[in-house]
């Protein structure tokens, strides 16, 4: 087991290292941040001063070594645009992203799981069709479109909810719905297929043959087993919601990490983009590592097979 964990841990570190190399060099081919920090027509001396100030005049390899050295000290560098430490910016935005992701996840599970169960239990019925349409809309309608429709309805016409920003429980409703909408559809689809698989299994047939009521078969025997892949997916989705809600956070001016990433990309703020991507990547790698370890604990075949 120890060997398995160690091996997985090394893979995780390697993934993070490759991510750091990729993002570091990738952002640098997207353009010169100095041109966005000045008006077109700025003097060459000003451009050179900006390069010097941010260390962009040094060779790329030197920049990378300095970046990695700082990273090992827990320092993600100074934002070019905000001129404050990236870590401070990240920590100031993280609570907002956690809140939004938590509410969006709750919404997606509350909608997705029951509708998935109903669709599976009443397969081929009207409710199954409703579920399919919901899943289709959820996966195909972009979140920004949903967001703008909601802003028009609930902020402009009805005046019930604030159109943007944060600070009160009312502020989180629309962005959480817009963010959770897609994931609700994904959770609905997975719950439905997982339930269908479980409902067709031998032990469920046995439970029915024993004369157990339908409700008990569904709730006690089928649902619990069908829930495992849904919750695994939900865990990964939660990490995604925290880190990549770029469009929803931008549309609703929600002060989260997704919006920070959007700002970083817009202004070629290399340290911000690097920081957000690496921390987001670390979260995903950590969750995957945890899942691998839990699976290995539950199922010895996994660790022995590895």
């Amino acid at each position: 087991m120890r060997q398995f964990v160690l091996k997985r841990f090394c893979y995780s570190l390697l993934s993070l290292f490759l991510l750091s190399v990729t993002i570091f060099f990738f952002v640098r081919v997207t353009g010169d941040p100095a041109t966005l920090l000045t008006e077109p027509g700025a003097s060459e001396a000003d451009i050179a001063a900006i390069h010097q100030k941010f260390g962009l005049d040094r060779p790329l390899v030197v920049q990378y070594v300095l970046f990695m050295t700082s990273l090992f000290r827990g320092d993600l560098g100074q934002s070019f645009y905000y001129q404050t430490p990236v870590m401070d910016l990240y920590w100031s935005r993280l609570p907002h992203s956690l809140l939004l992701a938590a509410v969006a996840m709750a919404f997606s599970l509350i909608i997705g799981i029951p509708s998935g169960i109903i669709a599976a239990v009443r397969i081929g019925s009207f409710w199954d069709s409703v579920g399919k349409v919901f899943a289709l809309l959820g996966l195909s309608l972009p979140s920004f479109f949903i967001g703008l429709l909601m802003i028009l309805l609930f902020s402009v016409y009805l005046g019930w909810l604030p159109s943007s920003g944060s600070g009160t429980p009312l502020h989180v409703i629309m962005p959480a719905f817009a963010l959770g909408w897609y994931f609700a559809a994904a959770h609905m689809r997975l719950t439905r297929s997982s339930m269908l698989e479980v409902l067709g299994s031998e032990y469920i047939k046995l439970a029915r043959l024993k004369g157990l009521p339908q409700r008990l078969v569904i709730a006690k025997h089928a649902f619990k087993n069908a829930l495992i892949p849904v919750l695994t997916l939900a865990g990964i989705n939660l990490v995604l919601m925290i880190n990549v809600a770029v469009i929803v956070e931008t549309v609703f001016a929600w002060p989260g990490i997704g919006r920070l990433l959007y700002e970083g990309i817009s202004f070629r703020d290399f340290p911000v983009v690097q920081g957000v991507v690496i921390l987001g990547g670390a979260m995903i790698v950590a969750v995957n590592l945890l899942v691998d370890i839990v699976y290995a604990v539950i199922d010895p075949r996994i660790r022995l097979g590895s």
Binding site: T30, G31, D32, P33, T35, L36, L37, T38, E39, P40, G41, A42, S43, E44, A45, D46, A49, Y81, Y82, Q83, T84, L89, S92, L148, I151, L152, S155, V156, G159, W160, L161, P162, S163, S164, G165, T168, P169, L170, T250, V251, F252, A253, P255, R259, L260, Y262, E263, F267, R268
Partner: protein, 525 residues
């Protein structure tokens, strides 16, 4: 019958579904009313800002070459001399100033009894400190030209230059943040880092709180030298999405929404109770011909360059994209509010003349003109121009490039065929032509000796009238040679809500934001 509190709590608490529904409705209604009340707080002016506010913009010492930091500087700080309504050199903290005849000395007299937000008086020592501390745009050039700064007493400052420099005041008062005054004693006491996080200035509003990229809150400074601002509190909320900004304005959450363009601007114009207020900014848009110095290129022929000018439907594009508020000046490089601006003849939209010129140049059947490079943020202008050019037979393909990449390629002279330019840097006619027209300029692909020869002459000319004549002649030559085909001077469109009486938009020529802040008023309830 009355019951004691103990009895009340002893009773089993039962919550019914209808109670839950009623509670939810009440909470929703209360919340909705609260969010309405927040927006309409008396004396508070709420902005929806289009761009992320950076901490460095709170400090004049870090002013980049962008116009955007001045959005905050006009509120928080004050300058000795600054662009104000009707003048590029408005008296701020200096009540008067003089330049010596030899152009080597500038004397400023400070107003009496002006205060920083912490109560410290503004002195000549602060002026000297602010200049020497400045590390923003053009600081090397500006500080390199100053030999010494003398402060004979708290109200007098003398700048001695190494050589005469007619543009000293242009740079000191408008183009840079060097003339915006910060409190020396306070900064030395609290340190640079603390000052940057909670700046103290001498402007009409004082700092309350700032969440980088999210929200800035300011409060009126009652002892501002000019007058106490009528608006008591300013909240600037960053809302990146244009549609959301308009929605926030319509729902009354904000009073002023910056940058509402295109179709949304049309919607804003029609919305009851809202006003569309436009400001023509210093960004001049034009088509540049980088191959005009290449004899084998069609763009070498001035008739073809002129044909482009006749082919562009300036007013039509203006109406379609900026509701007719952009300035169609005919100047491709220098905006009309700049010092030493020369007014060229207004451009004429005449496709027949364009076709005739093309025929005279041996291109009666049109020709393949390659690519039309532009900043993708302004690809909508490019699309319209490309369509106009195709109508007369100049077949060009639009090549929008993301802003940073476009500016890099333009500055590094990588493009051929046609380039849509939109320079927005502050300055005057001389500084604008230095980077776009004169040999060696950052965006100059080639130049004309007769124009180049005039540039150094104006740079040392101390007689203003003579200098103006030289700079006018240079602009005239740019026009005659069709060095650029002008499009327009861009209008910045904004939304103003029903609570605002006077927004201050457009009062300072070329300044895209609301200033002076002390003149903004709200309607009384």
């Amino acid at each position: 019958m009355t019951r004691s509190p103990g009895e009340l709590f002893a009773e089993p608490f039962r919550l019914h579904r209808r109670d839950l529904l009623a509670l939810s409705a009440a909470a929703g209604l209360t919340g909705a009313l609260a969010h309405r009340a927040e927006a309409a707080a008396p004396g508070q002016l709420t902005y929806a800002v289009h761009i992320s506010l950076a901490a460095s913009w709170l400090d004049p010492g870090e002013t980049s070459g962008l116009i955007t930091p001045f959005l905050l500087l006009y509120a928080l700080h004050d300058a000795l001399v600054k662009p104000m309504p009707g003048t590029a050199y408005g008296a701020g903290l200096a009540e008067s100033w003089t330049a010596s005849e030899d152009g080597l000395t500038y004397d400023f007299v400070l107003r009496p009894n002006t205060l920083f937000h912490n109560g410290d008086p503004v002195t000549s020592d602060d002026v000297k400190f602010s200049f020497e501390r400045y590390r923003g745009a053009n600081h090397v050039d500006l500080q390199g030209r100053v030999a010494s700064i003398e402060t004979p007493d708290p109200r007098h400052v003398r700048f001695r230059l190494k050589q005469p420099w007619p543009d000293f005041l242009t740079f000191y008062s408008g183009t840079t943040g060097a003339g915006w005054i910060v409190p020396r004693k306070h900064i030395e006491k609290v340190g640079e880092e603390t000052f940057k996080k909670a700046p103290v200035g001498a402007g009409p509003f004082k700092f309350v709180s700032f969440n980088p990229g999210i929200e800035l809150v300011l409060e009126a400074f009652g002892q501002y030298w000019q007058k106490p601002p009528p608006v008591k509190r300013i909240v600037m909320k960053v809302i990146p999405d244009e549609g959301t900004r308009l929605a926030a304005l319509k729902s009354g959450e904000v009073d002023i929404a910056y940058s509402i363009r295109g179709e949304l601007a049309e919607e804003l114009r029609k919305a009851p109770g809202l006003k569309l207020e436009a400001v023509a900014v210093q960004g001049t848009f034009a088509v540049y011909f980088p191959e005009q110095w290449t004899p084998s290129s069609p763009w070498h022929d001035i008739r073809i360059r002129r044909a482009v000018n006749f082919a562009i439907d300036h007013e039509g594009i203006n109406q379609a994209l900026t509701q007719g508020y952009s300035h169609v000046t005919g100047s491709g490089v220098v905006p009309d509010m700049f010092e030493f601006y020369w007014q060229p003849p207004k451009p004429e939209y005449n496709p027949d003349k364009a076709r005739k010129l093309l025929a005279e140049a041996g291109r009666a059947n049109g020709f393949d003109a390659g690519f039309y490079y532009c900043d993708s943020s302004y690809a909508n202008i490019g699309e319209a121009v490309v369509n106009n050019l195709r109508e007369v037979g100049i077949n060009v393909r639009l090549r929008p490039i993301e802003r940073a990449g476009f500016l890099k390629g333009w500055g590094e002279k990588q493009y051929k065929n046609l380039i849509q330019i939109g320079p927005g840097a502050s300055g005057n006619a001389a500084t604008r032509m230095e980077s776009l027209v004169v040999k060696g300029g950052q965006f100059v692909y080639g130049s004309y000796p007769d124009i180049d020869e005039l540039f150094p002459r104006q740079a040392i000319e101390l007689d203003r009238a003579k200098r103006e004549a030289i700079l006018h002649r240079m602009q005239e030559l740019v026009y005659e040679k069709s060095l650029y085909a002008p499009i327009w001077q861009l209008a910045f469109l904004n939304g103003v809500g029903p609570r605002v009486e006077a927004s201050s938009f457009g009062r300072i020529p070329g300044f895209p934001y609301t200033a002076p802040y002390e003149d903004i008023t709200l309607k009384s309830a």
